[in-house]
């Protein structure tokens, strides 16, 4: 319909309506705009403060540790003099401990998560009790796990002594709740329709979990493990109790060797009087950040390879 068929009165009404619409779509009230902008500014302030805090920490570590930055930090073990000392033994110690944590926490965490998500009947009180306990365990201070490790793993029933394995088991217990919770989220995120499709072709529940649910939830489980391992790398307090406190000058060669780890070494150096040790500790922080970034990048790359959508 073209406009020429309208009579003048209709045209007038149309233009009036258009004018009214334009007025309605006009600028927002000033007060609304100001409060919106204020909130935006507040958010910017918050994010800049967080970033500034992190940046200050990193810059401070770089400035303090600058005199000692160099490859020998990664290639030399602890020596009697700070000028000759590197972090090789602590790096290898950390890698051993973390390797042990991953080896323990992945099967335990994923197994527990599969049970809770796929098999446990929520109606039963013991399953609800288990769930509640796992959530609470995630909030227990890490020093408590250190005491537990000292009493049951280093001494007591397991009596392993102050060795790598004791550190791995203690840290694995510490991060296990985080891994279980993340793995449960990942398993829950697999749509029920995938499980139904699998069961409907005659697969058993185990085949469905093994071939459909687990592969689909690998990225989510990997994320949980990355977070957990990131936390485990930086843990100091429980490891002080289960043997990493000693001044170790050799590189551990197995899970039943004595050991030290990076954060404990840094803590140890900072507690000393000489300026050279303070510098070494700052350089140690850089080493730890590099290691953490390398491991996380690898894990994220691994996760993205398996990423899939539905």
């Amino acid at each position: 319909m073209s406009t020429k068929t309208y009579n003048p009165r209709t045209r007038l009404a149309t233009s009036g309506a258009r004018a009214a619409t334009e007025a309605h779509l006009g600028r927002r009230p000033t007060g609304e705009r100001v409060s919106g902008n204020l909130f935006y500014a507040f958010l910017l302030l918050m994010i800049s403060l967080s970033m500034a805090g992190l940046a200050a920490l990193i810059i401070d570590a770089f400035v303090e540790g600058f005199p000692r930055l160099g490859l020998e930090l990664f290639t030399e073990p602890t020596a009697p003099f700070p000028e000759d000392s590197g972090f090789l033994n602590a790096i290898v110690g950390s890698l051993f401990v973390i390797g042990g944590v991953i080896a323990l926490v992945v099967p335990l965490g994923v197994g527990a998560a599969i049970y809770l998500e796929e098999y446990a009947d929520r109606e039963r009180w013991w399953n609800r009790l288990i769930e509640l306990n796992i959530q609470n365990l995630a909030a227990v201070p890490s020093i408590v796990y250190g005491i537990l490790g000292l009493a049951f793993i280093v001494r007591g029933p397991l009596s392993l002594g102050f060795v790598v394995a004791a550190g791995s088991i203690t840290l694995a217990l510490l991060v296990l709740p985080t891994v279980i919770l993340a793995a449960r989220e990942a398993i829950r995120a697999v749509p029920p329709s995938i499980r139904q499709a699998s069961l409907a072709v005659g697969a058993t529940q185990w085949e469905t979990i093994r071939h459909q649910v687990l592969p689909a939830s690998i990225p989510g489980i990997a994320t949980g493990v990355i977070l957990a391992v990131g936390r485990a790398i930086g843990e100091t307090a429980p490891l002080l109790l289960v043997g990493a406190a000693t001044f170790v000058t050799f590189v551990p060669e197995g899970f039943f060797d004595r050991y030290t780890v990076l954060p404990v070494q840094i803590f140890n150096y900072f507690a000393r009087a000489q300026q050279e040790y303070i510098i070494l500790a700052a350089a140690g922080i850089i080493v730890m950040l590099v290691m953490l970034l390398a491991m996380n990048s690898f894990a994220i790359w691994l996760r993205n390879r398996y990423e899939q959508r539905w």
Partner: protein, 307 residues
């Protein structure tokens, strides 16, 4: 049971001959012609009972979802379950391969006999049932894997391990689902790259790759456009030669187009006007249901006056 007077004798439980079927009044001539045009020879007398549903009641918790359903489903037929929302069609179809077992609150009374064997006998393993009775779901739900893996998963868990055998099975299933020509060059691509209609045909191919006896389809076209729907319907007519199909549909034209037998379910309240539950109102040959239903409620529903 309500209004069962015209349903073909449904109380028989053994595989005896079914004289009641022969006694049915002949279907209207027009309907018969349309059937013959579709190339479907009528062989009502030789129908073999596949499922005998006896006094089936399914409850979720204490609430009945479907109540007192009794009817027989025949081999190599397409049986349509129609009715308004909430009448228990989906609940009913999920009983045939024991998918309701997955809902902890669901409980079942009565019997479904499959070739004479009670599916809900404690000695029967639900996994064994599902190997013989496949299912296609409302929304396409391919596995987040390659097209090949989607089809091969079923045969593989049922014991086919050799790659060459799996290749053959995948090609046959995709060919039967009219999908082979579309996807033969990209079998290793993720199934999520296919269109919705293709995904649903992939799901049908997946369900027939295990060579089941029956294929259950729970509103297989409700998420699809009319062209994809047409393709799926053609596929159902094709598959009917080798499989028995039970299909739940909201689309009455679809039931009329593809099915041989139609069961009409409806929501009913109890005497206190409470506890809605599904009941079977009428079950008969599709032509009869759509052209000359015995029950007034069926007529109102199929003519679009209610529901």
């Amino acid at each position: 049971m309500t209004d069962k007077t015209t349903a073909p004798a449904t109380h028989q439980t053994e595989e005896e001959e079914r004289p009641a079927v022969q006694a049915l009044p002949s279907v209207e001539e027009t309907a018969r012609e349309s059937r013959e045009q579709r190339g479907e020879p009528q062989s009502e007398t030789e129908r073999e009972t596949l499922f005998a549903v006896e006094d089936l009641t399914v409850r979720y918790g204490k609430k009945p979802a479907v109540e007192d359903v009794t009817f027989d489903i025949y081999k190599n037929n397409i049986t349509a379950l129609i009715g308004p929302s909430g009448c228990g069609k989906s609940t009913l179809i999920r009983c045939f391969n024991r998918m309701n077992d997955l809902i902890p609150a669901a409980s079942i009374e009565g019997h479904i006999r499959y070739h004479g064997q009670d599916l809900y006998d404690p000695a029967v393993d639900a996994v064994e049932v599902r190997k013989r009775i496949g299912m296609v779901f409302q929304a396409p739900n391919p596995f987040p894997k390659s097209i090949f893996e989607n089809i091969a998963f079923g045969p593989r868990v049922l014991g086919t391990k050799k790659k060459s055998d799996l290749d053959d099975i995948v090609e046959e299933a995709l060919t039967r689902a009219a999908l082979w020509d579309d996807v033969k060059d990209r079998l290793d691509d993720n199934a999520y790259g296919m269109s919705g209609g293709q995904q649903q045909r992939l799901c049908i191919a997946r369900s027939i790759a295990t060579k089941p006896d029956v294929v259950l389809m729970d509103e297989p076209c409700s998420a699809l456009d009319p062209i994809s729907t047409g393709k799926i319907e053609d596929l159902m007519m094709e598959l009917k030669k080798d499989y028995s199909i039970i299909v739940v549909t909201h689309n009455m034209q679809q039931a009329a187009r593809v099915s041989d037998m139609t069961a009409f379910l409806m929501v009913q309240l109890d005497d206190d006007e409470e506890n809605p539950r599904g009941r079977l109102v009428e079950y008969n040959q599709t032509d009869k249901i759509f052209t000359n239903p015995a029950d007034e409620r069926t007529e109102q529903y199929v003519s679009g006056r209610v529901g």
